[in-house]
Amino acid sequence: MNRNLYSKLARSNIIRNRDTYFPYIFSSVVTVSMFYMLLTIANRTKEADFLGDKVMTDVLTFGVIVIGLFSFLFIFYTNSFLLKRRTKELGLYSVLGMEKRHISRVTAYEILYSSLFSIAIGIVVGIIFSKLMFAVLLNLLKLDTSISLNISLHSIIATIVLFILIFFTVIFFNAIRIHKLNPIDLITGAKKGEREPKSKWLIGILGIISLGSGYYLALTIENPVKAMLMFFIAVILVAIGTYFLFTSGSIIFLKILRRNKRFYYQKNHFISVSNMIYRMKQNAVGLANIAILSTAVLLILSTTVSLYVGLEDILATRYFRDVNATFAFNVDDEKEYEIEEIVFEKKMDNNIKIENIVSYYNLNIHGILVGHEIRMDYTGNVSDDNIYYLKLIPLEDFNRNQDTSFKLNEGQVLLYSNKNYNYNDIVVLGEKYDIKGKLESINFLPRSVFNQIVLIVPDMVEIEKIMTKANELKKMNYMYNINYDYGFDIKGDYEDKVNFVKDLKSQFKTSIEGFELIEDRYTTRQDFISIYGSLFFIGIFLGTLFVIVTVLIIYYKQITEGYDDRERFVILQKVGMSKMEVKKAIKSQILLVFFLPLITAIIHIMFAFPLVRKILALMSLTNTKLFLSTTAIVILVFAIGYGIVYKWTAKVYYKIVN
């Protein structure tokens, strides 16, 4: 009997509070369905057998964990909004004679009903859309789209278990929160008037310092290897700075405005400044959350899209030719000939055409650059900024591959560096060389993301000299060798290319002494597509999830504001403000409040840009123009979406206020 009453009350509550409950249920449905889809797809790739399935499974499994984690956080967060919106109503129950445990039970039923509904519908939606999303994924990965995806009982059960757990935790925490509430506060709380927020200077200053140093890091890090670590530090600093500045910086700023009497006591500023002080107090954390979520969405999408779209660029950077083989041996005509023989034989076997052959001897060492001197004693100031990778190539090989006819005397070199090198000579491990000329680029070398100097030396004798020195000076148990690099582009059917590379590899292994490795774009392309395609795919999921939560926060904020502002709206009209004026004042305020996070996010992205560009360079994406345009497009699309959400929620808001 009693139970019936609770469940009846719960059901009618959900219907009655549909303005707050339906968006919550909707977002839960989306979350559930996304989790189910990703899990099903990850499981499917685990069973599947296609090129790159391993990497993909890893990335997708990682994605499942991330989405699961965020589902938990988001459902929790939106639920807390829901409960806050309803404190007054719950207070009324308590005044009407319901005990706290009864109220807890009613809200538990509400969560139970809405969660069962969300899980059921979410799984159905997931089943329907998973096929579509799987096709999207296969398409992204340029795979055969005939691989089928069936309904997975295992995924259904896992989804149900996870979300039941999440919702039970929510019920549990709601019970605790209700238990802590004081009924009198609940009812009168809204009327008592909010205390004016204090200016917290310390937090404001910390916020500025934190944000400033985050930005500074993002702008000043030169070394891409460092960039990775610094990126996370910068993200944390910027996040802290955002929270601090939203919560206290905004209030300090507004109070300074208020202190300026000439400015403050003007029609346009008077109401907005004083209202904003309160709005910021109530909304600062929510707005900071929106700003950070938006930044995350923009970052995730712009990077994953760039990596995916820039795949060919990446491959071109990483691999100078379609096929690149490296051997460790000193000048040896017989071996060179043998390599050519093998390549010729295998290309005939596999029906492949070969072009753009590149071959050269070279020595690679690394040391620190002090002034004009490359040293191997790592004493003194060693950092990522002064470690240089040095490559030496004999003039003959250089001229042949570059198609030039430079001449060098003994003691002269040509120099190429991807950093600025401003001396006229260079000392390498004690050997001094005059720089006869500086090269703008070297056609047959891949771009390096590290500090690089390439020296073109007169002959192999010089190279051997340096090698001997290096092996004397080195501290590690490793011998420096002269390498022979052999690369070329291939044409033919995809299958043939893959087989060709496989054949080549095994033949080199058995018959060429000193064979080190062979890399090719074809087998690696699929690996790259798998990684970046899956990352992009997860980017879409995560982006969608973040966007939904952002929308939900904005929506709940608008409703709450609406109820708060209704009274003010009435008073202002009685005191002699026209409807139009009030509407204008309120509109400019909500515009400011809701576009503040978006503007913040865009500023964050702009500061993050140089650093992220360097990280992408580390992943071999060096096409800045591509990254820039992708970022711009992502921001534009996001801003338009944000604007639409704002328009829609503003409508709800005006409906409440009027």
């Binding site: 008592k192 008037g193 909010e194 205390r195 004016e196 009497k261 000439r262 006591y265 003007q266 029609k267 008077f270 004083s274 209202n275 002080i277 309160y278 003010r568 009435v570 008073i571 202002l572 009209q573 009685k574 005191v575 002699g576 403000m577 026209s578 409807k579 139009m580 004026e581």
Partner: protein, 261 residues
């Protein structure tokens, strides 16, 4: 009667207000036919039971609502011909309001609440300060100006609301149950303030169902079933005597008796 030589400030003619329920179903007659006028310098109280139409009448005079038919004239000028934005500035410049629940904005200090109408009328800050201090002192809230509404008592809030209402030097001060949310001590203080304001020439129209509040007025109008039913002039009566007279009238009204004066 206080003065009696004043010009006619407010004239209400054949005022009628019918509310239609939201779905167009039944109609409620709030005011059927109200006629009266107020002269400059008067302190008029309108009395009546809940639902008699007092607040409707006040809202119509305050231009917050529009009548179904009839006319309201302030200094001979019709209020009904103005559009929304004209009405807003009219309210600001010619009328002052005091409400039962104060209607102070909790985001403003008392000072800013009082200055609000001046800010809306684009008055210079110097001028604002010049007007603020004497009024605040007169109402005994000059020490509370930097406090926020939630930090002061109901009586103090209502005095701030009065300050806000009179800082524009309005021709007519409208008060809707100004003592309704106050304890008896604060009520008396407020009514004294009203009397003093009236003595210095402020015209006041107050809606109330408190006999004590009404006994401070110079004239009391009784409204019943949407019509002005009866009125009492103070003449030379003391507050105490007027109080008794009003009480008697109310008893008569309640028992359905007829006007006898």
């Amino acid at each position: 009667m206080n003065g009696g030589i004043g010009m006619e400030l407010l004239t209400v003619k054949n005022l009628k207000k019918i509310y239609t329920t939201r779905f167009g179903g039944s109609q409620v007659l709030a005011l059927s036919n109200v006629n009266f006028s107020i002269e400059e310098g008067e302190f008029v109280a309108i009395m009546g039971e809940s639902g008699a139409g007092k607040t409707t009448l006040l809202n119509l005079i305050a231009t917050l609502d529009k009548p179904t038919s009839g006319e309201i004239l302030l200094r001979g000028k019709s209020l009904l011909s103005m559009d929304e934005s004209q009405l807003a500035s009219f309210r600001r410049e010619h009328l002052g309001f005091v409400f039962q629940d104060f209607n102070l904005l909790d985001t403003f200090s008392l000072k800013d609440n009082i200055l609000l109408p001046l800010v809306l009328s684009d008055v210079k800050y110097k001028e604002m300060e010049k007007r603020l201090m004497p009024i605040a002192e007169r109402l005994g809230i000059s020490k509370l100006l930097n406090k926020f509404p939630y930090e002061v008592s109901g009586g103090e809030k209502q005095r701030a609301a009065v300050a806000r209402a009179i800082i524009t030097n309005p021709e007519l001060l409208l008060a809707d149950e100004p003592t309704g949310a106050l304890d008896s001590k604060s009520s008396n203080e407020l009514l004294d303030i009203f009397s003093k304001l009236n003595d210095s020439g402020q015209t006041i129209l107050m809606v109330t169902h408190s006999v004590i509040a009404a006994s401070h007025a110079t004239r009391v109008l009784f409204i019943k079933d949407g019509e002005i039913f009866h009125q009492i002039y103070r003449g030379n009566l003391s507050n105490r005597a007027l109080f008794e007279k009003i009480s008697n009238t109310l008893t008569l009204l309640a028992s359905g008796g007829k006007s006898y004066e």
